[in-house]
Symmetry: C2
Subunit: 196 residues, 2 copies
Amino acid sequence: MSTAPFDERLADLLRVAATVFARKGYHATTMRDLARESGMSLAGMYHYVSSKEQLLYLIQRRCFGAVLEGATKVVAEESDPVERVRAFIHHHLTFFTANMNEMKVLSHEADSLSGDRAEEILALKRRYATLLQGLIVDAEGHHPHVAAYALFGMMNWIYTWYRPNGPVAPSELADVMGQLFLDGIRGETARTTATS
Amino acid sequence: MSTAPFDERLADLLRVAATVFARKGYHATTMRDLARESGMSLAGMYHYVSSKEQLLYLIQRRCFGAVLEGATKVVAEESDPVERVRAFIHHHLTFFTANMNEMKVLSHEADSLSGDRAEEILALKRRYATLLQGLIVDAEGHHPHVAAYALFGMMNWIYTWYRPNGPVAPSELADVMGQLFLDGIRGETARTTATS
């Protein structure tokens, strides 16, 4: 068996698992549920992963790894600090509006991993949050710590209300949130400049 | 048995149930777990509620009812449209930083009720969201629909990272988020005014 089909079938399995976890919840889902939904046998599934927790870990690692790598890249392509923040927001929303089930699972199952797996995911999340806080500081934004988590909340909460095929396209959502956030963190600076 | 002790013991039970649901998840929690944690007998618990779902419904109704009623009141006390938005934000964050377990349960178990109970809670949530959207329109904020849900995200996401007894007090959190949001939704207006 070549490497490529293994990776592809694992990717399919992760996608199915994220869909079922998002609908039923991680704890209520059994490996048998996942076998049925993926059309694989239980034995076939255990060829790819050793446990349900490993599936959750792989979903989280894939998402946080991809979003961190992608954000680092798009941010490096901009030289203006404000445009870097905008690029970060566009990238995050483009990624997660295409991965809404994963977004819900990442939000709800943040505490469901244990041991080394939990540590590794936490480290990825910290690097991602630190990247954003640095961008906010460079853009002369106020209160970078609260602002960074306010932005993550604004963006991640979309899994509760936003429909990617609804009236607001993902790129428009990113434009509106980007402008709202940038005006927000730079508000007092803008006013001070205007009146001085 | 008088009415008051019944209400008080029910309130205690709702508080314990929210704590356990927040820690273990609603679906993984049994009535037996709740009896153990509350120090009540199973029979005693069934004197107050008919099922685990009724407990979840009562937690949601109490929170959304209280936050809607309180917000309506504080908003009515302000005449300036911008100050009304600020009052809404302060009220929401004051309420939920004192009810963090409930906030997590409300976020994670939004889809766990069914039938009339689900309808009733949805109606309360819609009234609350409509109130906020009206305030944003009155304050001449842009994109009131996206802005309202961006604000709910910013505020509700705090259950994942904020500690009420940490370095940022709830009132400071409300000040920072209030200013960020108000500068954000009124940003383009402010710039247009400054340059015209």
